[in-house]
Symmetry: D2
């Protein structure tokens, strides 16, 4: 509890600017004893002029993390650890185990033939495959096979489990969840499947067979859950979509060619709390800077480049992960003049939009490019 | 005006059953003079026990119509005729120029190098290509190139025009519109473009490039019009989607493998008044009968088979068109044991659904198959 | 079927203008034999420049109709007639028994102690009380007591019945339904309750007790049907709302102080196909003319005045009914400089809005007032 | 940062249970140096079996707070303090200045003739009047006059200011905001009006005049903002609605007669992040216990009673405030056998619902009543 009552004073009309006198200090202490306080001692802090993020921009290099992730194969078993995951820890969010904002992320590794226990939770999750063969996920009886750069949903309220086929290889993937948000909202819950595994009750990859069609949905469907019935989004079709998009559109000056993954039954975000997108920076492309609310975790799916975040440059290449905190200025550049570069991203856009918190601003000076400070 | 006041009497509790006396007849005539009438003389007629359709089932054979359509090439110019179209006339709907219910349809032919005048109307339209090369449509500055079995939207309130490229061939397609509905709802309007043609202001086929992706939409899009921004639905991707669907699902007992064309921004119907679907009957497949509200116009896109509609058998093959009126029992069968058969369909399902008029019933007897009467 | 193939020709670029030659006439006859026709012979008719209505403006004077309605008390019993109703017959819509557009209306009379048989249908209905005491309606077990100028819903798919209490008096009310629309959409159905009456299973007027509150709904409600759970809208609260509205707003230049009856669970129209409103013309008020799509049936609930519809003046007083067809110019005037005048209206606005058919235009000339022709 | 890596171990299949060895400790430290961590050291903490709330149940007695609030009149001026507010500080949420969960609340006092500076912020707010005459609020040019137990909205993105008329008295009210949530979501922003005051551009209380009608909205309105255009909810109409509700319904076994304040244009919550309700416990009523997600702050608007929250009894009377944290068992009882008792409540239900976090459970044992522990 803050007892330096003067620390947030501002000498601006309409803002709190009360000098602490001995009489006031006594009053403040009396209030504290009654589970109360004087608003003017904290008003300027809790009503900032602009969005303030607790997160800092971070880049996690895959080549640095990969060895550490693989090392866990020998250090712990899935039975002991539940899951062998190295989580990404934002220095500003260690208390809530978040990579950025209220989003959790980690790198998980699983050997061929391993299968994690089936469970269910209120948190929503996705899994973006980095390397290895034979990975698959089961969600409410639907089994999805997964290859590099595919991503799969394990939404709020579904029974799910991850595994690698016997004939597969060691697999590494990135997990993305809203665990910190679900905990912050005091709504998380967890259960382990009574059999530790669930039956596969549909043909393998049936969700793609039924729902992954352009402008088509199964007739007479009655899908009305809060998440996409598609469940799996494949890299090949996604990359092809970006290519076709780039042929007919200049895209966004802030993001290049960018597409959002959606629930085909609604056109909305893939889950109730997490959005996801894939964007392509064309050869030589460098975007202009903007800032907006929401927390974003990027994963380089292809190529290399750099992003400038609040004036600091972060160079990235394949499978590097970096975050853009809320209201941070950011712009992206492809390092190559001949190859495109692709960034997968997951974020809390559904939350920003539904709660009325979305706000966006272009960087007006300097032709839309930030001066690089570090 | 009906003056046989006894013709709708029913001897059922709760229904009108008034015998016309001389006194009543005088009363009825007095009412007629005051722009009024006695409900009980018409109540049983206007409150039927079950939905009644004015349309009759009809099959239009393409081989019979094709010559007639081509003949129009020599009989009229596009300048004189506006469009060279032979419309389908349901014997029960000649007064409103409908093929079934409140849906209009016709076969249009255009020579290479011809271009119809650009115009706009309240009616919503689609165009399903039958044969020829080089057909294209322009909608609000978007040019869509079209091949056989592709279909394209020209929605309510858009400037549009059809044409065939100079280097193309004679093209025939099926038009589908809600003109009768728009007129019945007393809402139609029409205007010709002041230049008789509009500029193409986007890259060719840009709507497919941007919107025809599985589970992906352009980030930050603000599409909120009443129709699909995809505009063109290509046969190749549609047929492939049906194939994939069939691998993982048994489909519907009434319709086989069936998918609805949707607006990718919402997951809803392609236009505000017209829905469309493509269904596949697998080799040897024969569906069960059901009936429901709504008017449906089918076009055989591939293969051959038959449908039994209200007990009458209609055999169809490629490019034959047939209708299923509201509340008619219907079931479909593929004629081949080795090839699949595909039916394109457009209908007024959006209207039935939005107005609360959708109702469906399975044919319970005889294992779900109708006795064939004719 | 039209055989004067030249009757719709227009000499305008982009419109059909084909002169019938003997060769063409032969062609047209050949087409007719194949259940087909040449679009250019009807195109200009079915694609009008502006909305065309089949209805004509009509005013039905209550003093003229009342005697006729009362006379039916002696002519038929409810058991014979089902309901003792004199329907309003628009000269342009006699074939579909409509008062305007696709809306049916009639005046019904019931003696104290009479109770009509309970039934259900796809058509949606409302009942606006004109005179008498003791009228009530039962909808799915909810009993609503009704006084003059109250109106009550009996929506699509509900069991319902009208009655007058033993201790009441002869009651007259106006019925309003979408029967013509439901029939036109080929979706109507009807059933009589097996007991000819249903049980009242809720406290009397419970829907008002629970739902008729300003800005309040029952917590945790799960209402998601296509119609308003309020069911009854009382005159007293409605008139009071208009008074309060008028104190703080100038209202609409076309309609004065006008409020739409809504489903409190959604803020939308009271039923899926029928909207309703009450408007007040302040002392001396005269509105400006506009026209729009949709069919409107007005009932003078209070006061007197006149409306000018397509240049013709219609003077109305309490309980007179008049219609405004689609796309007809119309403006309203209060006859009194000291009293307000109120118009109840029901219409097909939900249909116009959902199908994308709404269109509106102000009368620009002459200060917004039509020249009066008749 | 947690360095007792063993503190969250659970010996349950499917949960993390890794004993820290020296080798693992070294590994954990290496990970920490790379902004990473081992999930299994925190997994059981961040994936709890059931929702965990940081808030504790608290009751703030008005008689204890009132003097402290009034004392601020002499201690600070509005100019210095911005607003003279004593905020409610939940012992579990002091770090975020919340009364419960992510909801802020405080008691504000203003002298007759005082007017706070006009401002705008991303946080959403409401104001529930406790005592005094002449209070009013201005929102985007709409002035709302306020009496005891009225509440008014000052939503996200509106210019607003509170004041007391010259001819009024000292006024005390409760403020309720989502400031902690807006800050947590890193989306807050703030601006002071350049003139420190805004013009009143509509008739006083026009929002009530136009929108506070049962089942009626202004015709042709185009309201589509994220909050209710009604803005003010008056006690008199609310209490009357509860009375009428109680006459026809038994209400909820958990909440008695309870109604939710809604946006009349949509039937949804009054603001995007905050819901509000008023409930009445009838004479002698005692509800059954349940628990659910979401944070709730209650204000006794009338009468007296007690609530049992997680087994602890809290007795309340008029203007006492108490909170129910997420997932806490709670039940309510009226202290009187002759008078009803009313509880105003505001909460984060819109957030729980939109994000898929709502979950509810009845207390099954002991006839639905908790054993009282403290
Ligand atoms: Fe999980
Ligand atoms: Fe961005
Ligand atoms: Fe057209
Ligand atoms: Fe069917
Ligand atoms: Fe009826
Ligand atoms: Fe009008
Ligand atoms: Fe404020
Ligand atoms: Fe509760």
């Amino acid at each position: 509890m803050d007892t330096d009552y003067d620390s947030h004073r501002e000498n601006v009309a309409g803002r709190a600017n009360v000098e602490t006198t001995p009489e006031l200090r006594a009053y403040y202490e009396e209030l504290a004893g009654a589970e109360a306080g004087a608003l003017w001692t904290v008003a300027n802090k809790i009503e900032p002029w602009e969005p303030v993020s607790a997160s800092v921009p971070v880049l996690w290099r895959y080549e640095a993390l990969r060895d550490k992730v693989l090392k866990s194969l020998d250090l712990v078993t899935p039975e002991q650890a539940g899951r062998r995951v190295i989580y990404l820890s934002n220095p500003g969010r260690r208390d809530v185990v978040a990579a950025v904002g209220w989003l959790y992320s980690g790198l998980q590794v699983m050997r061929a033939g391993e299968r994690a226990s089936a469970h269910i939770h209120t948190a929503s999750a996705l899994r973006f495959i980095i390397e290895g063969e034979g990975a698959y996920t089961v969600v409410d009886g639907h089994k999805m096979t997964l290859g590099p750069n595919d991503f799969v949903l394990t939404p709020n309220g579904t029974w799910h489990e991850h595994a690698v086929a016997e004939e597969g290889t060691d697999c590494i993937w990135q997990d993305g969840l809203d665990i910190p948000l679900t905990n912050a909202m005091e709504a998380n819950s967890y259960a382990v499947h009574e059999d530790l595994a669930q039956a596969v009750t549909y043909p393998v990859d049936d969700s793609s067979g039924v729902w992954a069609a352009p402008g088509l949905v199964p007739s007479g469907h009655t899908w009305n859950k809060g998440y996409s019935p598609l469940l799996k989004y494949e890299w090949e079709a996604t990359y092809e979509a970006l290519q076709r998009h780039a042929k007919v559109s200049d895209g966004s000056e802030f993001d290049g060619i960018m597409m959002t993954f959606v629930n085909p039954a609604t056109g909305g975000h893939v889950m109730q709390t997490i959005g996801a997108s894939m964007q392509m920076l064309r050869p030589g492309e460098r975007t202009r800077a903007h800032r907006h609310t929401g927390s974003f975790l990027y994963h380089c799916a292809k190529g290399s480049g750099h992003s400038i975040i609040n004036g600091k440059r972060f160079d990235w290449k394949e499978h590097d992960i970096f975050c853009v905190p809320s209201w941070a200025w950011h712009e992206h550049a492809n390092a190559s003049d001949t190859e495109d570069a692709c960034l997968f991203c997951f974020n809390d856009l559904p939350v920003m939009e539904k709660l009325g918190y979305w706000r966006e601003e272009a960087f007006g000076d300097n032709g839309g490019r930030q001066p690089v400070l570090g």
